[in-house]
């Protein structure tokens, strides 16, 4: 089995602040990390490697310093790491990003592509599904569990939904987007860290992917950012421990207080 995991380097948004004047992220001094959903996806891939001896490749598109998360992935146990980096790819929105990544993926062998559900800097959840569309692959997003049947080359996936979950099956080759909350990524091993810098990180430019220039980078991006703002945290709710009868009265009164009913 061959698996490719798409990962992204993001600012650790637990540490990030937004400039209230410009509405943009203040990235200075903010540590960069592997996007949590991507790391969750990587863990699923490494579990398939442990179970079935899968060959795991990670790929990222980004600035040269995105090499850091590829080294981290190597230290966690992946077999191959590819950095897609080129000035021509800069300023890409989700469409241009997925076009470029799909171009790179077309040159690789895979049975399964895993991406994170969404990145914590953009929160769009678009790149994974768009890659599947570019490559004309079946896809399941919001994956929270994954089983593989070797005989039929079928993946059985548990997909999280707002109401609960769905159990879906797909045949390889296919794409899933993974949730960080459903899995605990392994730690890098000490020997993995010691050897991570002796191993190759393949650096690919735009010339390695067969995608027209008007489909990548800023020129290939129909979207532009109108405004960025921090998430507003909802205050903690009130908790009451009462009987069902009292609860009905309490809720009705609260709704009346707020003139909802």
């Amino acid at each position: 089995m061959k698996i490719v995991v798409c990962i992204k380097q993001v600012p650790d948004t637990t540490e990030v602040k937004i400039n209230p004047q410009t509405g943009t992220l203040i990235r200075e001094g903010v540590p960069s990390i592997m996007n949590p959903d991507d790391k969750g996806g990587l863990e699923y891939a490494l579990q398939l490697k442990d179970q079935y001896g899968a060959h795991v490749t990670v790929i990222t598109m980004g600035l040269p310093q995105a090499e850091d998360i590829l080294r981290e992935a190597l230290a966690m146990g992946v077999d191959r790491a590819i950095l897609l980096t080129d000035r021509k790819l800069g300023g890409a929105d989700t469409l241009a990003t997925s076009s470029a990544l799909a171009g790179a993926l077309r040159t690789l062998d895979f049975d399964l592509i895993i991406s994170g559900r969404q990145a914590i800097d953009g929160d769009t959840a678009q790149v994974g599904p768009q890659i599947a569309e570019h490559l004309d692959l079946p896809q399941v997003s919001y994956m929270e569990d994954l089983q593989f049947d070797e005989a039929t080359k079928t993946f059985t996936i548990r997909k999280q939904t707002e109401e609960g979950y769905q159990i879906l099956q797909m045949q390889a080759p296919c794409l899933v987007t993974a949730l960080a909350s459903s899995v605990k990524p392994r730690y890098m091993s000490v020997n993995g860290i010691v050897t991570a810098f002796d191993r190759e990180v393949e650096v690919w430019g735009a010339d390695r992917i067969n995608v027209p220039e008007d489909r990548i980078g800023k020129t290939g991006s129909p979207t532009s950012v109108f405004k960025a703002f921090p998430k507003q945290l909802k205050p903690a709710g009130e908790t009451f421990e009462v009987s069902p009868e009292e609860a009905v009265e309490l809720i009705v009164n609260k709704l009346k207080e707020k003139h909802i009913i």
């Binding site: 230290a75 091993s189 000490v190 020997n191 860290i193 050897t195 810098f197």
Partner: protein, 379 residues
């Protein structure tokens, strides 16, 4: 010496900090309160290769540096000094002497199991009447055909009841003084070997500190470690390495207390402002921060020398002396900054102050470190 971290060290620091925060810190208070050896943590450490950081890969280790090992002891001790000393004793006092003085057969037999964490290691030198005066060994080893027969006891042995392998120092010829001392590898299952009483301690309460008893303990001849009569030197060399580990433990405790105090003094308001805004707090904390950073550089410099085969005995003594005394000072002041809350077990600084004290005592007291340093100065 380069003062910046290498790429490997940066990545290692990222991993070990996350490991310490997520896996070790949540257990620290409980391990202390219940005097419980955190076996589940040791198993997690083993899984990612932390039990064999500086052991070469040919012997099943991670092939890392002693600097990385020191960073691990520091970061673990920053949140739990018990976990820090478990790793330090295992690595510095058991793996290291086998690696440095063992025969190829001994290395092949013991290091893979120790480095993988399948076995835990310990070291026995101290006896009721041989502490700082380690030459006064009363445990004796007598040749008997193809075996050595050991009799006597060791006290204050870290990892005692959980270790599978022990490096034991014993007298093989009393008439020769320190030249009649030799080192041996004893396994938990050897006949005549048993674990004695467990100490109830002020700090590092989760580490299993026990007595070891040898009653006609028979071990095969090939368990002799290093040359006959060279055991005292082996023990001193082992302690030189171990001292850097303990220095890193002390450094971690000090850093942990600094972290807690910065956080607390920013939150705690008295007289209408955070106590971190008082100059008294700022100046004292600035002095402590400077000492912590100085201790870190001493630790790093000593491990750098060990990694590069440069003599480091006095460097290790200086690192341990300074880091241990810094840990005691920082933790005592941390409790003071926390006021009444600091004296309770609601806050970790009380535990840190109790944990810090041992670093001035074990693997050579601060007085012994001064003797080592002065010995080099006036030789």
């Amino acid at each position: 010496m380069d003062f910046s971290y290498t790429k490997q060290e940066e990545l290692f620091l990222q991993m070990i900090r996350e490991f310490a925060e997520k896996e070790v810190k949540p257990l620290a208070a409980e391990v202390d309160e219940e005097e419980r050896f955190p076996m589940e943590t040791v198993e997690k450490m083993a899984k990612i290769g932390l039990m064999g950081i500086p052991i070469p890969t040919q012997y099943g280790g991670a092939g890392g540096t002693n600097i990385m090992y020191g960073m691990a002891v520091e970061e673990l001790s920053r949140v739990c000094a018990t976990t820090g000393v478990i790793l330090s004793s295992h690595t510095s006092l058991c793996c290291a002497p086998i690696l440095e003085s063992g025969t190829e057969e001994q290395k092949q037999k013991y290091l893979p199991k120790l480095a993988s964490g399948e076995w835990i290691g310990a070291f026995g030198l101290t006896e009721p009447n041989a502490g700082t005066d380690a030459a006064g060994q009363q445990t004796i080893a007598v040749e008997d055909g193809d075996h050595w027969v050991l009799n006597g006891s060791k006290i204050f042995i870290t990892n005692g009841s959980y270790a599978n392998v022990f490096i034991i120092i014993a007298m093989t010829d009393k008439s020769l003084g320190t030249k009649g001392i030799s080192a041996f590898i004893v396994e938990k299952t050897d006949p005549g070997f048993s674990i004695g009483k467990k100490e109830k301690k002020m700090g590092i309460r989760g580490s299993a500190t026990t007595e070891l008893i040898f009653e006609d303990c028979r071990i095969p001849k090939d368990r002799q470690l290093g040359q006959l009569g060279k055991g005292f030197g082996l023990a001193m060399k082992t302690l030189d390495g171990g001292r850097i580990g303990i220095a890193c433990q002390a450094l971690g405790i000090a850093q942990g207390a600094m972290d807690e105090t910065v956080k607390y003094t920013k939150e705690r308001k008295q007289f209408g402002r955070s106590i971190s805004q008082f100059q008294n707090t700022q100046f004292q904390m600035a002095d402590l921060e400077t000492k912590v950073q100085a201790a870190r550089l001493l630790c790093r410099s000593a491990h750098y020398k060990k990694d590069h085969g440069i003599p480091y005995s006095a460097d290790a003594a200086m690192a341990k002396l300074f880091a241990a005394e810094t840990a005691m000072e920082v933790t005592t002041k941390a409790v003071q900054f926390h006021g009444g809350y600091g004296y309770t077990r609601e806050y970790p600084v009380e535990r840190m102050m109790r944990d810090a004290k041992i670093t001035e005592i074990y693997e050579g007291t601060s007085e012994v470190q001064r003797m080592v340093i002065a010995g080099k100065l006036f030789k």
